[in-house]
């Protein structure tokens, strides 16, 4: 895909270029409301067919282009009870009835399996029926979350309205210390700006410390743009992006213009500067991701559960990080370590690398590769438990009863804390 404005003299941000292309305009101005053609709509068992089908049927309408739809079963699988079974069955029946060519059933969490199957490419305009849909922004894709009724509008018309956002550019210089990762960068930014600090604008992650990250770490940044309250969390496409996409089967022709998807040098951004070199592991205390401080402020908080899961914190790179900490050790007595890998492919690769065995040997209980306890939909945590989790949200009541206390941290920090039975600084253990 080529930005229409690539030769124009009006400098544009990455967000503007992506929206202009989808709107069929040479350029767009901040604040303008435009109608975009949607290249891909993703929804899952919870937000998708069970909500969409009754509305589509009531309208007598059809999906505008089934080839542009990806359905993922990840929230209610494996089904824990009759209600969950019913919801998943509705999704499977709809997949057949609508003749959807792209259905990913019980093979991982939507935001991870979508790029893993090559569905995202730089330059696309995508929507997802899930708030962590900004994850797609790591691929130079404009992707954002919408609710079920708005998804109905998309699948009927193929269009969505967008108000062209300002770009808040997070410039990260320096180099992360060992044991400090994208999750820590995000928690740090959320603490600084707050959970609505993104003001539903576009956040762009840039600078040498961002471009040094692998794709799954970049996905963690874009993923938690949701917790910044941004509409999209973008990263310019580069060689790392192209190498990942090529490896998952995206052909070279589809990528030949990938490097054009970046913010022009003279484009107007609000810039914020961070130094990765001095960043400590970060921990968000209950009940908000914005309640973040350096890990040192929370050491000695005793724990009952350590959870490595979700699209945010259980991808292959996250599992590898946990294994580096846990290798040859057992978790502390009284601590339950739960690991729910983000996708079947990531789990299989972690198995081949011996990573899963390291986790099991350390005492981890391996849960299904689905959203699970993160959304409070699957297995939840017991009354009064203190949890450290690699997930994205620690709202009251999210992972179980309102009495559950959830601390958010990186997979490195979760693993280190599981070993000591209390929140710990992973740098002391590497």
């Amino acid at each position: 895909m080529t930005p229409i404005s690539s030769l124009a003299s009006w400098p544009q941000t990455l967000a503007q270029k992506l929206i202009a292309r989808a709107a069929g305009l040479p350029h767009v101005a901040v604040g303008e409301v435009v109608t975009c053609q949607v290249d891909l709509a993703m929804f899952h068992d919870s937000s998708g067919p069970r909500r969409l089908k009754p509305m589509l049927d009531a309208l007598g309408a059809h999906i505008w282009d089934p080839h542009k739809v990806v359905l993922v079963m990840d929230h209610y699988v494996p089904a824990q009870d009759a209600d969950a079974q019913r919801i998943v069955q509705i999704a499977r029946d709809a997949a057949r009835e609508w003749r959807l060519p792209n259905v990913i059933d019980s093979e991982g969490i939507c935001h991870v399996v979508l790029p893993e199957r090559g569905h995202l490419r730089p330059g696309m305009m995508c929507v997802g029926g899930d708030s962590h849909s900004p994850t797609g922004g790591a691929f130079g894709t404009y992707m954002f979350g919408i609710g079920a009724t708005e998804m109905l509008g998309v699948v009927v018309t193929g269009e969505i309205w967008v108000q062209v956002p300002r770009t808040l550019r997070m410039q990260w210089t320096g180099q992360l210390a060992r044991g400090v990762c994208a999750k820590d960068m995000m928690l740090h930014m959320i603490a600084r700006f707050g959970m609505n600090g993104g003001q539903y604008q576009a956040v762009e992650f840039a600078g040498e410390a961002v471009m040094a990250l692998g794709m799954q770490e970049r996905m963690t940044l874009s993923n938690m743009s949701a917790e910044l309250g941004a509409q999209a969390g973008l990263i310019a496409a580069d060689d790392t992006t192209c190498a990942y996409l090529h490896a998952v089967g995206v052909n070279k022709e589809a990528l030949h213009n990938a490097h054009q998807w970046h913010t022009d040098a003279q484009a107007e951004c609000e810039d914020f500067h961070f130094d990765a070199t001095v960043l400590s592991p970060q921990v968000a205390a209950p009940h908000s991701p914005a309640n973040t401080r350096a890990v040192g402020d929370y050491v000695d908080v005793k724990l009952d559960v350590a959870y490595i899961g979700a699209c945010t914190g259980a991808k292959l790179e996250d599992l590898r990080a946990a294994a580096l900490v846990l290798r040859g050790h057992r978790v502390a007595q009284g601590v339950r370590l739960l690991v729910a890998p983000a996708s079947a492919r990531d789990q299989a690769q972690a198995e081949r690398e011996g990573v899963m065995q390291v986790l099991r040997d350390a005492g981890a209980q391996v849960l299904p590769h689905s959203c699970g306890a993160c959304a409070g939909y699957g297995e939840t945590v017991e009354e009064g438990a203190r949890v450290i989790s690699s997930t994205a949200r620690n709202f009251k009541g999210r992972m179980g009863p309102a009495s559950v206390q959830v601390y958010l941290a990186s997979p490195w920090t979760v693993a280190a804390s599981a070993l000591r039975g209390r929140i710990s600084d992973v740098r002391e253990m590497l």
């Binding site: 849909s133 009724t149 707050g194 009541g397």
Partner: protein, 162 residues
């Protein structure tokens, strides 16, 4: 002019509080019974159609689950008044026909106050006006139609007649 009773909430009211994950398997009538129970256990049972929610900044942060707005619609909440909203919640609310008023001074209002919604903002019973940001026409059309579903229905009927 119809007056509305104010239900006052704090800042950062999230979608898990509005539509708790544990009840997401259920229909909106069940989810609505548990709406805001972690913050105001009495809310769902006591709220009356036409009442107004008033909250601090960042109302509706969190999930894309539109049941967060749908539960308020189901309970008959007329509008939510707050200094700022989550962008995703904002879209969902208008898509479901729920009016959101962005009101910098919302926090001056107290629980139990009687207010009147007027075109320029929220009027207190002493006549004082708390101004609200203007809402674009295409979003007000969504409110008048009762949500996007009804707009799509009208549009499909329009095509039908052509």
């Amino acid at each position: 002019m119809k007056t509305s009773r104010v239900w006052k909430l704090g800042a950062d009211v999230d979608t898990d509080a509005l539509a708790p994950g544990a009840y997401m398997k259920n229909g909106i009538e069940v989810i609505a019974q548990h709406c805001l129970e972690v913050l105001r256990p009495d809310f769902a049972a006591a709220v009356c159609p036409g009442d107004v929610l008033v909250a601090g900044p960042n109302f509706g942060i969190g999930s894309s689950r539109e049941q967060a707005a749908g539960a308020l619609v189901h309970l008959g909440v007329r509008a939510v008044v707050a200094p700022s909203f989550s962008g995703l919640f904002f879209r969902n609310a208008f898509n479901l026909g729920l009016l959101l008023l962005t009101c910098p001074e919302a926090e001056q209002l107290r629980d139990g106050d009687a207010v009147t919604l007027v075109p320029a903002g929220v009027q207190r019973d002493n006549g004082a006006l708390l101004p609200c940001q203007a809402i674009p026409d295409f979003l007000m059309n969504m409110i008048h139609a009762g949500g996007l579903m009804n707009l799509l229905r009208l549009r499909s009927q329009g095509k039908h007649h052509e």
